[in-house]
């Protein structure tokens, strides 16, 4: 381990201490190492005398009466990231060494300084792209699952499938952005430091360092750039805006779907699997919010609830799959439908309201100014299509009535493990001129 590396590791572990104390400690250790080197000890040995960095940091924190484990949860993440960074750096160094000869022969003297850095970033970008695809999988499962749940509900609720997809997409993008941010945070905040370290390392590793390089290595400022508080605040605001707010929206839509499921429950339709899954997702969203909030207070988030959440979720999936396999979708064949034909005037048609699901065809045989209306519907749903000759209104498909009827049919179907979708079709025939006037 090199001096700067050791010191920056130590500094990272002591980040709970205030800036001046931290600086003081780092300086003290730097001078001790420097003195030892001056007295003939090697850099490695001088650092080895301090023992394990983690232990040292713990001892120091204890001297301040700080619980050395204050950072445990994020530490494991830090460690993973550290080893990841180290691996990337090693790979980058290897690559840069390999291609060194080539670049040397080209004769670009600057290239050996930044080459490692360039490779490091390239590898990171590559890894991020892979992560992007891996992250994609659970999110698309979540999206299609939720969308599927909403898609089988009745009209106003079925719109939630789009909202759901949007929310999941937003979550996905947020995750990606945060991953990017964490990955490249070091590169952004401490670019100077890393490059200066890289310079030193590369000039050391080379058996015959070029004059220009070694000069630059000495000139490079060895000051650490402290992770700025402003950056931290911006990051926190960013987290709130891009993460917590969508999560709250997500939670409210989940609450809504739970309400729908409870409504079904009162209608006698027991969708245990979906309710369990809904509860699990709701719990999970709140858990994520809790974890994010604990980031702000620097407290340890309690994640015990993950256990019941996963149990609920798995049970929910089992129940849902079981339910879905027994489910039959009842579609009405065209020949089961009753056909009703009406001949009305153009004016009468204009006065008819609430038309949906219809198509207009040109038929020159129809009388001028008249419209032939063919209505196909299932006798089962008489209430759905009300044919009303009075007052000029011919076909009345009331919005509210329609919604109620849909939900009645749907719920009735669900009770028998069937998905029944009421079906009707309206076809209009008229002369071309009449149609043009209608528009």
């Amino acid at each position: 381990m090199h001096k700067e590396e050791f010191l920056s590791k130590l500094e990272k572990k002591l980040k709970i201490l205030n800036e001046s104390e931290k600086k003081d400690i780092i300086n003290e250790h730097r001078t001790i190492i420097d003195e030892k080197i001056k007295n003939g000890q090697s850099e490695e040995a001088a650092i080895a005398d301090f023992g394990d960095v983690n232990e040292l940091a713990k001892e120091i924190l204890r001297a301040y009466k700080v619980d050395p484990d204050y950072n445990k949860s994020s530490e494991s993440f830090e460690k993973t990231k550290e080893s990841f960074d180290e691996g990337v750096k090693n790979a980058a160094e290897w690559l840069s060494e390999k291609s060194q000869d080539f670049f040397d022969s080209v004769g670009d003297e600057e290239s050996d300084i930044t080459l490692g850095k360039i490779f490091e970033i390239m590898i990171k970008v590559f890894v991020v792209i892979i992560l992007l695809y891996i992250f994609r999988i659970p999110f698309s499962i979540l999206a299609s699952l939720g969308a599927g749940v909403f898609a089988v509900t009745i009209f106003p609720f079925s719109l939630f499938q789009y909202l759901w997809i949007v929310v999941v997409e937003v979550l996905y993008i947020t995750t990606i952005i945060i991953t990017f941010f964490l990955m490249f945070k070091n590169d952004i905040f401490t670019e100077k430091k890393t490059t200066s370290n890289m310079k030193k390392e590369s000039s050391k590793q080379k058996t015959a360092p070029k004059k220009t390089t070694s000069k630059k290595g000495k000139k490079a400022p060895s000051k650490e750039t402290p992770p700025s508080d402003v950056g931290l605040i911006i990051f926190k605001i960013f987290v709130v805006l891009v993460f917590i707010i969508p999560l709250i929206i997500f939670a409210s839509s989940l609450t809504f779907s739970l309400a729908v499921l409870i409504f079904f429950l009162f209608q006698g339709v027991v969708l245990t699997g979906l309710i369990l899954m809904n509860l699990a997702l709701l719990g999970f969203v709140f858990l994520i919010i809790h974890v994010l909030l604990s980031l702000f207070n620097n407290t340890k988030p309690s994640v015990w609830s993950l256990i019941p959440i996963s149990i609920f979720f798995i049970l929910g999936i089992i129940f849902t799959v079981d339910w879905a396999f027994n489910l039959s979708i009842v579609s009405e064949e065209k020949d089961e439908l009753t056909k009703e034909t009406l001949v009305i005037t153009q004016e009468e048609l204009a006065e008819s309201t609430y038309w949906r699901n219809y198509e207009i065809r040109i038929d020159p045989e129809v009388e001028e100014g008249m419209v032939v209306v063919d209505i196909y519907y299932n006798k089962k749903y008489e209430n759905l299509v009300v044919i009303d000759d009075q007052g000029g209104v011919v076909v009345h498909l009331g919005n509210l009535r329609e919604a109620r009827e849909f939900s009645r049919v749907f719920v009735a179907g669900l009770k028998e493990d069937e998905i029944r979708i009421p079906y009707y079709e309206i076809k209009l025939y008229a002369q071309e001129e009449t149609i043009q006037e209608l528009d």
Binding site: H29, I32, E35, E55, I60
Partner: protein, 107 residues
């Protein structure tokens, strides 16, 4: 030597060493290392703690070579503490010595 023995004695040794004269980090580390082979990692946190407990004070002084050095100076409170530790230590070692002797006699 047993690490626990070392740790117990370290605070007293550091305080006593600083009674002789003010020292900077590296100097102190070397001085203490002469009698107790111990990792520097243990000394620095100790210095920090002793400073926080007002047994030590620190000040910066320019050096001929390199950056200014941080010197540690013992306070009045620190001297009292050193005396107390020394007394405890002597009492303790005397008791232990006597006990060892007695054990050897009966053995």
């Amino acid at each position: 030597m047993n690490v626990q023995f070392k740790k117990g004695a370290l605070e007293m040794v550091v305080l006593l060493a600083l009674i002789k004269r003010d020292m900077y980090g590296y100097e102190l580390v070397n001085d203490v290392a002469k009698i107790i082979a111990i990792k520097e990692g243990t000394i620095y946190p100790l210095l920090k703690r002793l400073t926080n407990e007002n047994y030590l004070e620190s000040y910066l002084m320019e050096s001929n070579e390199g950056p200014p050095r941080k010197y540690y100076k013992i306070t009045v409170l620190g001297r009292e503490r050193a005396a107390e530790l020394k007394k405890e230590w002597q009492k303790f070692t005397k008791a232990i010595k006597a006990f060892i002797k007695e054990c050897e006699k009966n053995a």
